[in-house]
Each structure stands twice: as structure tokens, then as C-alpha cells.
């Protein structure tokens, strides 16, 4: 098939990839608590969500085997992923959530391959450190990362009402009006998120782009299945503080003296039939 022929650009990219990979291997990220080096995993900040990435996903949630992701939670424990960090990037929040919710499985999800690889190695490293150097509640055994496209394939991984918390931290702003459909929080996707979040579960958004914040808040405010949390409620929720201060992007914004906007929601129960 002609589709399999690679363009020079593709070949070049692949070579670059391989070079980076070799370098990473030489540094031994993830092995015996050595942290991976972020600069070896850089990738452009955007990914087209509408194109077919070579993703792997199960046909249905029942077919998903989570043991490689959470090796210390045996299948028999019946635990399911409850907290998801959508577009987790380098995983600042995912890692921070681990010790705060030691009894829940936390999953970071990211579409960019290198970034996912970085976080994988980082989790390996911090698990090792937690075991051999300084103990941490839960030992980071309850966090993991998955490469996937959350706008398309959430139904392949999660069941109705399985999640208690969903985080959308510093998403791609997609400024152009015709790209608004690509945004991660849209009215139609919010319905899908509502399906996965259990009643009284929470959805969190944070961004440094005011325009995007207003747009997300407007979208979710008018969605019948979400109720905006008051500032008071936000202040009481440890997760809001975590996502404001612990995400890699959040730290960067703070360094540059930028503003951060949060909007958090409670999932309301479905109206009766």
C-alpha cells in the first residue's frame, strides 16, 4: 500500500526519535530510582486529536487488563481507576495526587508519546525511591500513566459512574474559532464526562488563558448535569490547591507571574426518567 511509504520528513523524525531513545537508555531513566531527564522527552505542545494516532485500546472496559499499570493492586481487590488527570503532560499533578489518595487508583492520560514515556519512567523511579529511600504514603503504587486520546476513547476504558474526580489542567487553548470543537471541554464532551463521573463526583478545570477559562466555565455552567462549586467550596477542596500548585504547567505560570483561573464542578445525579 502506498500509505506505508514514508516521507523524508517521517524518516527524519524517526531517526531523531531513535537517537533520543538511545540517549535515554544510556542515562537509564527509571532504573533504580534515577529520574528521567525531561529534555530528552520534549515534544511539541500540541497533538491533533482528530487524526488517527497509533493508539492501543481495548474493545471495551471489561477487556482492559490494568495489572501492568498497577502491579501492586491485585485484580482481586476489585479496585478501579477513580481519579483521572486528562492531558497529564509531565505528570506533576498525577504524582501529587498519589499520596493524597492512597486508596484510589489515579491515572494520568496523555496523547503525546514522548511525554507519556517520560512519566512512565518517572513513576518507575519514584516508586523505587519510595521503597528504598524515603517512604511515601501509598508508595506511588496507585498512580500510573496511559497514552490515549481522551476525546475519543474514554468509553473503551471506563464504565458508567466509575470516576470520582476528573482533572483538566492547562489544556490546549485552541484559539481559532473553527478549532473550538477540538477543545477538551465542549458541551458535547461534557455529556460524556458526566457519564463517567459518579453523582457528586467532581470535575476540575484550570488554565492560565482567561478566554479559555470563560469559555469552559460558560460551557459547563449551562450543562444541566454540572453544578459550579462556590469559591468557598473550592477553597476547602485539597484538589484545587494541588492542581494550582503542583502541575508542571502551574509552576511555570507561577514562575512567570501569570494568573491562573479555576472552575470546578459537581456532577449532579441524572434526573429520573
Amino acid at each position: 500500500m502506498s500509505l506505508e511509504q514514508k516521507t523524508p520528513g517521517q524518516i527524519q523524525r524517526e531517526e531523531e526519535e531513535n537517537r533520543k531513545k538511545m540517549k535515554r537508555l544510556a542515562k537509564g531513566g527509571g532504573v533504580e530510582g534515577r529520574l528521567p531527564m525531561k529534555r530528552l522527552f520534549r515534544q511539541r505542545a500540541h497533538a491533533n486529536v482528530l487524526s488517527d494516532h497509533e493508539l492501543e485500546y481495548p474493545r471495551s472496559p471489561a477487556e482492559m487488563d490494568w495489572t501492568p499499570f498497577y502491579p501492586d493492586f491485585s485484580e482481586n481487590s476489585g479496585k478501579k481507576v477513580e481519579i483521572v488527570d486528562i492531558g497529564c503532560g509531565y505528570g506533576g499533578l498525577t504524582v501529587a495526587l498519589g499520596p493524597h489518595f492512597p486508596d484510589s487508583l489515579v491515572l494520568g492520560m496523555e496523547i503525546r508519546m514522548q511525554v507519556t514515556d517520560y512519566l512512565k519512567e518517572k513513576i518507575q523511579a519514584i516508586r523505587y525511591r519510595a521503597e528504598h529511600e524515603e517512604p511515601v504514603t501509598g508508595g506511588y503504587k496507585n498512580i500510573s500513566v496511559l497514552r490515549m486520546n481522551c476525546q475519543k476513547f474514554l468509553p473503551n476504558f471506563f464504565e458508567k459512574g466509575q470516576l470520582t474526580k476528573m482533572f483538566f489542567c492547562f489544556p490546549d487553548p485552541h484559539f481559532k474559532a473553527r478549532k473550538h470543537k477540538n477543545r477538551i471541554v465542549t458541551g458535547t464532551l461534557a455529556s460524556e464526562y458526566a457519564y463517567f463521573i459518579q453523582p457528586h463526583g467532581r470535575l476540575y478545570t484550570i488554565t492560565d488563558v482567561e478566554e479559555l477559562h470563560l469559555w469552559m466555565a460558560e460551557t459547563l455552567d449551562k450543562h444541566p448535569l454540572f453544578r459550579r462549586l462556590s469559591r468557598d467550596e473550592e477553597a476547602k477542596d485539597i484538589c484545587v490547591a494541588l492542581m494550582t500548585n503542583e502541575t508542571e504547567e502551574g509552576k511555570k505560570v507561577a514562575r512567570n507571574g501569570g494568573k491562573k483561573f479555576t472552575a470546578c464542578y459537581e456532577r449532579l445525579p441524572d434526573p429520573a426518567k
Binding site: L3, V49, L50, D52, E54, L55, E56, Y57, P58, R59, S60, P61, A62, E63, M64, D65, Q151, K152, F153, P155, N156, K160, K181, T186, G187, T188, L189, A190, S191, E192, A194, Y195, H223, P224, L225, D270, P271, K273
Partner: protein, 400 residues
Amino acid sequence: MTEASSKAGPFNHPCQFISYLPEKQLLVCCSGPYLLGFSLATGEKTFEFCYEDDLKQKNKEAAAYGQAFRQVAVSKDESRLAAVSEDKCLRLWEVDEAAKVHLLYEKTIPKRCADMKFHDSGDLIFGDKFGDVYRINEEWFKSMSSENQEEKKDLKLEPVMGHVSILTQLCLTKDPHKADQEIIVTSDRDEHIRISRYPSAYIIDGFCMGHEDFVSRISLYDSSTLISGGGDNHVFLWDLKSCQCLDAFDVRSAFANYLSFDKPMVISSIIPIPLKNLIAFACEGVAGLIFAAVSSEKRLTYHSALPLAGPVLHAILVEKPEERIIASLDSSVTFGLCFQEVGFTNEGSVQQLENPILDRIEKEGLIKTETVFCPLAQLHTMRKNHSKFLKSESTQHTKD
């Protein structure tokens, strides 16, 4: 399968989509850029509409996609007919008592339409290739055609629901949990079938998960059973209440005799025939129909295969006076044969039927042409270049 060969001289242009209005006994055919209506009682042509002239003048984009009506939808009372063409133009006609049509409105929609259905209330529900589903009514058409810019702004379309994928089909039906409520079932290119409430489609009731390639067709077998087919080897029967798979039927091996060695298969028509406990399937580019029997426990078994003279473009069920299937064939390879009727014998087998009325329509009514105006097979273009599924050993589907 019939070898592709074009006969010298004009032949009947094939009908890429057909629809039947039982009360008016009206067969509506989309034949390239023509919309044709025939009485199935007499074979007489009741109307002919062509948008070709418009097309040459003002729409370059359409030329690239070919000139064709893609689909028609008929309101429940058969008084309204909507058709959408490749140039994204949505037209609404009134169908009068004499089965003639009068164009009421035409309006270009922002994205290409994937599927549309009339709701019982008279609203038109359509899904587009961007994945969104919209609801419009005649008021919308009216105000959109008015000159008042202010009014137009007020009527900016908001999707009632949406997929982040190419939408392929939508179905409206009664809620299997509660008869006075309704649901909307939508399918997309990313293997998903979603069940949402209607009109409050922001409440999702569930997903039917199991397909390994795009879902091209969904259809209701009865009020609580859904059939789905697409680019993978199996068609599925789903319980709408629980979203659980009732049975998966290996339709590829049923079609094996018709398919060249490794040709990928795409389901292009699903025809439920509940009164005969049968479901018929047509596959893109394949000259025949496959019938599967449905048991009372909702299991699917192979029933029969019926070869036809040419690739089936579209097939529909006509219920009165007795069940029969009208299949529209690719006449560019059948020497002009456009329709084939399929009936059921008392013994429960299927057979081709002769129908002088369809013969008359073919002889007198159809558009004569020397080339086919529009691409006739397009569903296979949705296939992805890869398909990798994570599987754990314990949960392999059992299909036998």
C-alpha cells in the same frame, strides 16, 4: 461477482439511495443529482428534480465530491421529504396527495451530513461528519431563508449531542426502560455506538462496545434490540436496555463466497425483517444479500445467501402488501438493471421476484447516462490504517 464492464451507449443511472413511503406507495430514488419519485402501484414517475444546474454555477466544491443526493428522509405522516446532497445543501419538500413534491426550502448546512431522520414531532435530526447532531424544524428553514440577519444569528445551531469522530448513523426509538420516553442511538467511525436520551441527549445511558472497526450501519430489530455492522468481520446484536452484546455473527464467512480473497468487507445495508425472524445484510461492492435468522433467544444463525445480478448499493424493506426487499444495484456493471426484488416463500426461503412495475420504472423512468455521476461506494474510505486492540486472554469474544 459480475465483472465491471460498461456497455456501449447509455444505460440507466444507478440509484445510490432509495426510500419508500408506504401510505403513498411512493418509491423515492436518489440517482446522481436527480431525485426521482415513482408510484409502486403503477410504475408511473410522479416527480423529477435535479440540482445539477445550480451546481455548475455556484458550487465548485460539489464537483470534487461528485454530484449526488446522498440521502432522503421522510416524515412520519409522509407530508415532508428532506434530501441532502454532496454540496451540503439540505432541501425540504412537501409531498402532496398525488405523491408529487413541492420544494419548500433549501439551505446549506456547515458540514457534510452523515445521516438524518425525522422525529415523530416533525423535527429533522441530522448528524454531520464532524460528529455533531443537530435538530432543526421548519421554523429554522423559514428564518434562515429570511433576509433578516438578526434573526439568523438567534438561530445559530447548537448541537444536541456530539461525537469526536465521523458520525455514521443515528436511530430514534422508544426508551426500552420507559415507553413514554425516547432515546437516540448514534454510531461513529471510532467503533462506538452511543445510547443517549432524547431530547435531553446530554444524558448518556450507555455505550455498546465490541466493534473492531468503524460502525457504518445501525438498525433496530425490535424495540429493545439493535443490530450493528461496519468494517469488521462481525455484526452484533445488542440489548438496548443493558447495552450488552446478545450475539455476534461472523458475517464475513457468510459473505466469503462473494468476496475476492482478502478484500475487506463493509456492511452497507442492514434490513431487519422481524416478521420473518430474519435480518438481511448487504455489503459494499458485493452482488448479493446474506440472510441471518434470529432465534427467540436473540441468537443469530446463518440462513441463506442470495446472489444478485450486481453489487448492491442500497436495499430497503417494503412491508405491504407483503414483505419484500427492493435492492438497488450498480447498473454500470449490470447492463442497466437497477432494481431487484426479493421475496419470501411460505417455506421460509428467499427468492428473486419478477416485478413488472419495477421493470416499467427501469424502462421508462430512470435517468439515461453514459457515465456514473457520483462515487457509489464510499464507506470503506473510513477504514483506519491500523487496528490494534489490547486484549486480555480471559475476555476474548466467543462468537460461535
